[in-house]
């Protein structure tokens, strides 16, 4: 008997027996599978980033038509008194000839046959351009009578031509652009009238209609999303942390708190569209808050974020060693002092992580916002908070959803651009979380 045991032990030590080999093989297999899983994940991430960046980065560059425009007082200010009300009476139709004439003059200077080519060239300028010009004049009435250099948006088709979306072949079939116009565009580009430059307007401009993709931007959506994040943070962080501290440290353990606990865990798993229906019924139909407003979106998203924050905070509080509590109580700290002087500061990194995860979730949430009307087409910027919380606004993910629904392929590029903006926002939030966590952890 003892001999037999000694024999097997002796063999195992030589690592040659079948059992040892099987064990090693199993370990190797498991490591390979883990490596494979990680590789798949990385591959998917790289693929995703590549597809978004390759189709979205171009939305940050835009083709412009550069020209000097003489702001003719004879057209813009017939009364000659610079009265804002009179100035506003001139519509975009009044501005369109200004652009056409200035373009003709610019082309003339560069040696084009302006009489033949100015007409087709004017169509290369975006339909949004007169509105941009009018906004400039209304904001700077003192510039009337001066000659100002403008970079006006080129039309979406021309922009698409330089981004590879529009080709000579596709222009044959296109009612909005002809191959001759594309040729002309190339010549204008050589002459320096058409330029490609960084597109700040994409970040600041509001959404634009289906026919003017070149003018569409995420300005209103960024504001709307930022407002909602402010509301979510201001509501769900204090409420969530207070609820967690109470549940974790003060609440008695009974069937009622068990019930609450189960419900919080379930709430975290409720589909987000259900929260949208709740928001529609409770905040808009019952409480009478305005539709499409960041306040409603913020309230709904705060409700969604609460369970995430509560679960993360409770886990963080639970992770603080009980010896710290005993130590504080042992020197005569009250329960509240022990919790707020020692337990909560130690749990702070965890609480912050949970909050940022919750906020990031809320930032990317689309479905509930559709139900409360944030999918509406909003051209006007919401006012500064707090009034702005009640103005109609859009949100970044909804803007993405909105643009993917539109016909013009130029909006695909815009949607990918908006996704990039959204990702940058998420990265910034995570960065803040990491910095805050570092700061709190450095206090031992």
């Amino acid at each position: 008997m003892t001999d037999a045991i000694a024999a097997t032990q002796g063999k195992a030590a030589l690592s040659g027996d079948a059992r040892t080999r099987r064990r090693h093989a199993a370990e190797r297999r498991f490591r390979m599978m883990g490596l494979l899983a990680v590789a798949l994940g990385v591959l998917a991430l790289v693929g995703l980033l590549f597809s978004i960046l390759s189709s979205g980065l171009s939305s940050f560059r835009q083709t412009y038509v550069t020209m000097d425009i003489y702001l003719d007082p004879g057209i813009l200010d017939k009364a000659g008194n610079r009265n804002p009300e009179d100035l506003a009476k001139v519509t975009t139709f009044g501005y369109a000839p200004l652009i056409k004439n200035s373009l003709a003059k610019a082309m003339n200077d560069k040696g084009f046959n302006s009489q033949l080519e100015a007409g087709p060239a004017a169509e290369l300028v975006s339909a949004e351009a007169p509105a941009i010009l009018r906004r400039y004049v209304l904001n700077n009435p003192d510039q009337i009578g001066e000659t100002v250099e403008f970079n006006l948006l080129a039309s979406g088709r021309i922009d698409g031509y330089y981004k590879g979306r529009v080709t000579m072949a596709s222009a044959e079939l296109d009612r909005n652009i002809s191959p001759e116009q594309l040729q002309l565009a190339d010549e204008l580009k050589e002459a320096g009238i058409l330029t490609t430059r960084f597109n700040w307007d994409f970040l600041t401009a509001p959404d634009a209609s289906d026919t003017r993709p070149e003018a569409a931007g995420v300005g209103v959506a960024i504001l709307g999303s930022a407002y909602m994040m402010l509301i979510v943070l201001a509501l769900s962080l204090p409420i969530g942390v207070a609820a967690s501290i109470y549940l974790e440290e003060f609440a008695p353990q009974n069937w009622f708190t068990d019930l609450i606990e189960v419900n919080i865990a379930n709430l975290a798993a409720v589909p987000s569209i259900v929260f949208g229906i709740l928001g529609l019924a409770a905040f808009i139909n019952f409480a009478g808050l305005p539709q499409s407003a960041p306040i409603v979106g913020g309230l709904v998203l705060a409700l969604m974020t609460l369970p995430t924050i509560i679960i993360a905070t409770r886990a963080a509080l639970k992770a603080v060693p009980p010896s710290i509590r005993s130590a504080a109580l042992g020197v005569g700290a009250s329960k509240m002092q022990a919790i707020f002087h020692h337990v909560v500061p130690l749990a702070m990194p965890g609480i912050l992580t949970g909050t940022i995860i919750g906020l990031a979730q809320a930032l990317g949430e689309t479905a509930p916002l559709l139900l409360i009307g944030m999918v509406a087409f909003v051209r006007d910027y919401p006012a500064a908070p707090p009034e702005g919380f009640f103005d109609p606004a859009s949100a970044l993910p909804v803007q993405v959803y909105n643009w993917t629904q539109r016909g013009d392929p130029a909006f695909v590029e815009r949607a990918s651009g908006a996704i990039i903006v959204l990702l940058v926002f998420l990265l910034l939030m995570n960065l803040i979380a990491i910095i805050l966590r570092r700061r709190f952890e450095r206090r031992w």
Partner: protein, 269 residues
Amino acid sequence: MLTEAATEKALERKMSEINYKMVGKDVSVYYGDKRALFDVNLGVRNNTVTALIGPSGCGKSTFLRCLNRMNDTIANAKVTGKITLDGQDIHDPDIDVVELRARVGMVFQKPNPFPKSIYENVAYGPRIHGLARGKSDLDQIVESSLQKAGLWAEVKDRLHEAGTGLSGGQQQRLCIARAVAVSPEVILMDEPCSALDPIATAKVEELIHELRTNYSIVIVTHSMQQAARVSQRTAMFHLGHLVEEDDTDKMFTNPNDQRTQDYIMGRFG
């Protein structure tokens, strides 16, 4: 009947003669349905080190934690009987448990300094109790507490470094300094040396010896040698009962109870 009353009276007279700091009378503790302590009658004398010994799970730590009501923090623990501090019932509704814990300090089994600086560890108690009138006053308390704990010389140049960066023995002395800083009257120690090496243990024991002049100390220990070295009185617990309590010298040479004899001789536990 008469004799019983007489003996009780005699006992009470004897109790009043001796200078007791804390007295536990018929103390029982229940954790839910489980009874952990059975009618323990035990006093803590002034300026004396009382050692509580007995095998694991015998209730000595439970009794210790009754003395500053640390059992209150356990969800379903129930304490019955009467415990007095200077004749005052510590379960009296008028007594603030925070006040009690300031007067009856505690040092735990595992060193548990706050994850803050050494200075902050010691200053925390005086600060929340408002014992210092200003920065220099607080500095004074921190220094004297660390000196009493025998740690001053080792840490005086790095008061603002992390308390958790000290060695285990230093951490435990830091915890003692932290307890001393709020000038308690009684210090409870729950196996304070069980996580320490022999050299650190010797230092802590020496410290206990010195602290005795100013404080009443109750110490739970698993080490017979330690009980013999540091204490003047020893109480033996077994299965939730107080077996006997006497002068340490007598307990270790000539105990009344067979169980004490067996335990001290290492026959069980």
